[in-house]
């Protein structure tokens, strides 16, 4: 059985209690994107300012549970200052972290097959890997990915 400590790692609680990059940015030049989790009512607002193909600044608004807030906080720290391409790679890697483990949920059994790692994230996720415990609580995966989907939406809108 997955315990609470698998879900609520200390670093997650730290980001929840002291969220990084909370606030707003002027729109424009920043892009504002909203995300909703219709299941639980969580709402997130991601402000992303892109300058010269670089994520110059990110701010997070809205309200949500510890997982969604911590994930948003860690995301903001992970993408701020990176190029848009790098930021998108981090988004992909994070979502892969969530879905790869989702596929393995069937059992805590040894890997079947060849144990290939072709889906391994192309970028190091660092602290974000603390969130991988979330995949053992499938209903919470949407909490963890809410900010990321909203950032992706913001980057798409900034590019268009």
């Amino acid at each position: 059985m997955a315990g609470l400590d698998d879900l609520y790692r200390e670093i997650i609680l730290d980001h929840y209690r002291s969220p990084r990059n909370r606030g707003e940015l002027a729109v424009p030049p920043a892009q504002r994107a909203e995300g909703f989790n219709p299941l639980c009512g969580d709402e997130i607002v991601v402000y992303v300012e892109v300058q010269s193909d670089r994520v110059a600044d990110v701010k997070i608004g809205g309200q949500g549970c510890s997982i969604s807030q911590a994930s948003a906080s860690m995301m903001s720290a992970a993408v701020k200052g990176r190029t848009v391409l790098e930021a998108r790679a981090v988004i992909r890697a994070f979502k892969a972290l969530m879905s790869i483990h989702e596929h393995r949920l069937d059992a805590d059994l040894p890997e079947d097959g060849d144990g290939d790692s072709e889906d391994a994230p192309p970028v190091a996720l660092g602290d974000l890997e603390a969130l991988q415990g979330v995949v053992r609580f499938p209903v919470r995966i949407k909490c963890a990915t809410l900010a990321w989907n909203t950032l992706a939406q913001g980057l798409d809108e900034a590019a268009s």
Partner: protein
């Protein structure tokens, strides 16, 4: 005023044994089910009635000539008669079986609404409605251009009725809940109905949370239509009920079209069936009706007065326990007096998000709901994104409330 000194009419541990699911463990802990406002558990009597029907009597209804088909029809129609008697309907033909209360409310909005409402006509709702009693009317607003007006929630957890006469003035229809699924608020339906009728408006009552918990007499409520659902009153999912006054139902166009709802079909038209089948297109939820009939028998045997008495008692105990143990760190929404509310307690605990509360409680085997409870406008009115909600039914006892409080203790320690 009723307080925690109220007595409970039964030993809930004797009721629990009728519910097989409650004998289970979750995470090696006793299952403590406090989410009956979302869906109640089912007694053995309901489960056995449904499996017995499938094992011995299943055939499609209203069709076959053979004995078993006739028996199936009798069981289905017998369940309708039980439900009619349970809510004080004048006649079984006024009981329409639907999929759920949501479909019942959509039936009224689509059938009566499209036949009777025009651009600019006013429909009165309230701020505390479930999405099921908001979205069908919002759809009519988009489709027909009707005007929606809302009874406001007062800070005491009751509807503010100071504006009632002004709001219903000139309205064509009023549709309100008889019990809030978030706050437990019990709006004075009769008073609202009388005000509506004085203006010539019809009164629709969303009784999804009311019928399972309080003795219901549809005529005494002053309603023209009453919607409720089977799965919150010990019955199965997949069956809901619409009661309506027969002269209104008779005058309304059909809702869904297909088999069973017709008298005759020609290549150039059709003639609808009589009530109630006019509104029951296609093969109905037969086994579900049988299960709902068994649920009604179970509740009748307990007595709805006793059901309510038990809930007032346990709600009072829960409100007192939460106040005692969590003081200022807990915010409980809704009316303060357990005698003036249902057994639904929505709360915020310190600044712990409801999702996190529910997650920690789950580790103790305690099931509560966390979220917006399909009432997002009410969440905005309360100034929160979501709440945690514990709700009680006949099988809950003080030990369940204590398990909730212990779990909340663990939650506050974890997130301190």
């Amino acid at each position: 005023m009723s307080t925690s000194t109220a007595t409970t009419p039964w030993d809930a541990s004797l009721i629990k044994v009728d519910f097989p699911i409650l004998g289970q463990t979750v995470h090696d802990r006793r299952l403590v089910f406090l989410d009956s406002a979302a869906s109640s558990q089912k007694p053995d009597a309901v489960i056995k009635a449904m499996s017995g029907y499938y094992k011995t009597t299943h055939a499609n209804v209203h069709r076959g000539v053979y004995a078993m088909a006739e028996q199936a029809t009798n069981l289905y129609e017998g369940a309708r008669a039980k439900v009619a008697a349970f809510v004080g309907a004048g006649h079984s033909r006024e009981i329409i079986f639907t999929k759920n209360a949501t479909e019942s409310l959509n039936l009224v909005a689509k059938s009566w609404g499209h036949a009777n409402l025009r651009a600019g006509d006013a429909v009165v709702l309230s701020e505390i409605e479930h999405h099921a009693n908001l979205v069908p009317w919002l759809m009519l607003k988009d489709e027909l251009g009707i005007e929606l007006r809302y009874l406001a929630l007062g800070d005491d957890g009751h509807l503010d009725l100071d504006d009632l006469d002004r709001l219903v003035d000139g309205a064509k229809l009023v549709s309100v809940t008889a019990m809030s699924n978030v706050l437990g608020t019990l709006p004075p339906v009769r008073r609202i109905a009388d005000a509506a009728h004085a203006q010539g408006a019809l009164m629709v009552v969303d009784a999804s949370q009311y019928v399972p918990h309080l003795a219901t007499e549809v005529l005494a409520l002053g309603a023209d239509f009453v919607a409720f659902t089977g799965h919150k009153m010990l019955g199965p999912t997949g069956i809901g009920v619409l009661w309506g006054r027969s002269e209104l139902l008779d005058a309304m166009p059909p809702f869904l079209g297909g088999g069973d709802m017709i008298c005759d079909v020609r290549l150039d038209g059709y003639t609808p069936n009589e009530l109630p089948w006019k509104f029951e297109a296609g093969t109905p939820p037969i086994a579900e009706a049988v299960g709902l009939g068994a649920a009604v028998d179970y509740l009748d045997a307990l007595g709805m007065g006793a059901v309510r008495q038990h809930e007032v008692e346990i709600t009072g105990y829960a409100l007192a326990t939460l106040a005692d143990r969590f003081g200022d760190t807990i915010t409980v929404y809704g009316p303060a007096d357990p005698a003036e509310r249902g057994g639904v307690i929505s709360f915020s605990l310190a600044d712990v998000h409801p999702h996190d509360i529910s997650q920690v409680l789950d580790q103790s085997g305690v099931c509560i709901r966390a979220g917006h409870h399909c009432a997002k406008p009410l969440m905005r009115r309360l100034g929160v994104g979501a709440t945690a909600r514990a709700s009680f039914y006949i099988y809950n006892d003080h030990a369940d409330v204590d398990a909730l409080a212990d779990g909340l203790d663990a939650t506050t320690r974890f997130f301190a």
